[in-house]
Symmetry: C2
Subunit: 256 residues, 2 copies
C-alpha cells in the first residue's frame, strides 16, 4: 500500500476526515514521539531520521517507522522526516489542534499538585475547572482558579465545554464522581483513585495508580535479588559493583 494517505488537511478544522484506526500500542507511543519532536524542533533540527527520532523517544527504529507508516507517508526516503510536518500530523491525529478543557475533581493532596502541573497547559490542555465535594475546600483559589462544589458540575460542563474529567478523589468517592461526569456528557476519564470504575460503553477510562507502579518495580527487585542470591554459574560480578560507572544504555522498557 504505497498510496500516500493524507487523512485530512491538518490546518483546517472544518471537515472531519475519518481517522485511520491506529493500533492502541501505536496511539500510546505517538505522544512520546511528539515530545521528542518538539525537543528536536527546539534544538533547531528541521529533519530527523527514523534512527534519530527513535533514539530520542527511547524505542527502536523499526517500531517507529511502522508506527508512523500508519499515519501515512510523511517521510522522504534517503532523508528522513520533516520535523515540523510530523509534529503537525501527530498533533492532528491526537486531536490536539483544539485545546481541550479538563475538569479536575478532588483537590486534596494529589489534586492540588495536578492543578498546578505545567505539563497540561504546555501540551494541549486547559484545566478549566476545579471541583471538590468538601464544602471547606470550595472557594479556595489554586493557580488562578476557584474551587467549586462538585454538584455544580452540570453548569460547569456547559460553561467550559469539558472534554475530559480527571478524578483525584479518595477511592470511596471515585465511582460517584465518575457517574456524575458521565451524566453531564464527559466521555473520557483519567482516574487516579485506586479502584475500578464502571462506566457505560463509549466512555474511555484510563487509570494511573501510583502504588501499583511501585509494586511492579518491587517485583523486579525481588526477582533480581532472588537471582543474584543463587549465582548459578558465576558471572555475577557485574551485579556486585553498583557504584561508579555512568549511565550508558537506552531506556529499559518494562511493560509500558
Amino acid at each position: 500500500m504505497s498510496q500516500h494517505r493524507h487523512p485530512g488537511a491538518p490546518g483546517r478544522a472544518g471537515a472531519v476526515p475519518a481517522l485511520p484506526d491506529l493500533p492502541e500500542a501505536t496511539v500510546a507511543r505517538l505522544p512520546e514521539y511528539l515530545r521528542a519532536l518538539h525537543n528536536l524542533a527546539d534544538a533547531g533540527h528541521e529533519t530527523v531520521s527514523s534512527e534519530g527520532l527513535s533514539a530520542a523517544a527511547g524505542v527502536n527504529s523499526a517500531k517507529l517507522r511502522k508506527d508512523l507508516s500508519h499515519l501515512g507517508s510523511y517521510g522522504t526516503r534517503g532523508v528522513g522526516y520533516d520535523v515540523a510536518l510530523l509534529i503537525e500530523q501527530i498533533e492532528y491525529v491526537l486531536g490536539l489542534t483544539q485545546r481541550r478543557a479538563v475538569a479536575l475533581v478532588g483537590v486534596g493532596n494529589l489534586g492540588h499538585a495536578l492543578a498546578g502541573y505545567d505539563g497540561f497547559a504546555s501540551r494541549g490542555f486547559r484545566i478549566a475547572a476545579l471541583l471538590d465535594a468538601d464544602p471547606s475546600r470550595v472557594g479556595e483559589e489554586i493557580n488562578g482558579l476557584v474551587v467549586r462544589h462538585v454538584d455544580e458540575l452540570p453548569a460547569v460542563a456547559v460553561e467550559e465545554c469539558i472534554a475530559i474529567g480527571v478524578i483525584a478523589t479518595p477511592a470511596a468517592a471515585a465511582q460517584r464522581v465518575a457517574d456524575q461526569l458521565v451524566a453531564v456528557g464527559v466521555t473520557s476519564i483519567l482516574n487516579f483513585a485506586p479502584c475500578v470504575l464502571s462506566v457505560p460503553e463509549g466512555v474511555d477510562v484510563r487509570k494511573v495508580d501510583l502504588a501499583i507502579e511501585l509494586q511492579i518495580l518491587s517485583f523486579h527487585e525481588h526477582r533480581k535479588a532472588s537471582l543474584t542470591a543463587l549465582p548459578a554459574t558465576g558471572g555475577s560480578a557485574l551485579t556486585a559493583l553498583p557504584g561508579g560507572l555512568a549511565a550508558t544504555d537506552t531506556q529499559e522498557a518494562i511493560g509500558t
Copy 2:
C-alpha cells in the same frame, strides 16, 4: 502440568526460592488483584471465585485464572480461591513481604503531593527520604520528613537502605538524578519527569507521564467525534444521548 508448584513458603524470609518468571502483563495485573483481594477480605469474604475476583478487579475471568495459574495452584476446584492465602501468595511474589524504602527526589509541585500520598505507606512502601537540588527547599519538613540536599544521596542510600528511587524533578534535571541514583546502587526507578532516561542494563525504569495519558484520551475523543460526525448507516442514536442513565458496564480497557 498439574504438579502443584509452591515457589517457597511465603512466611519464611530465609531461603530464596527462585521466582517463576511471570509474563510482564501478568505482573502488571497482580497488584490489581491484590487490591481487590484486600477489599474482599475487609468485606469479610473468606473465599472468592475467579468470576467474583475478576469482576472486582475489572478483568475477565479466563485472564485471571491464567494469571493465577502462573503462580501455582492455589485455588480449589468447585470452590474458588482462599482470599487470605492468595493475598499472602501475591504479596510474596511481588516482594511486598519486606517494606521497601523509597527515596523521592524533587519536592516541587508533584513531589510534595507524592510525599504526602497515603497509598504508598498502606501498600507496602515507606518513603524514607526526600531530596531536592534547590537549597531553599532543603530543611523544609513535609509529613514528618526533612528535605535533604540531593548530594547527600550516598549517605541517605546507606542509612535508609533505599530500594527504589522516585524522580519528580523537572525534565532537565531527571537524567542527572537518575545517574546519581544508579551510582548509589538503586536499580529501580519510577520517573515522573517527561523525558527518556538512559540507565545501565539491570536497572528498571517505569515512567508515568500525566500529559501523555490525557493525549491518549484526546485521541479517542477525536476519534469518537469523527465517527459521530459521519453517521455512516444510522445507529448513532445511542451516542446522541449522553445525559441520564447510570453506569452499568465494567471498566473499559484502553491499552493499559
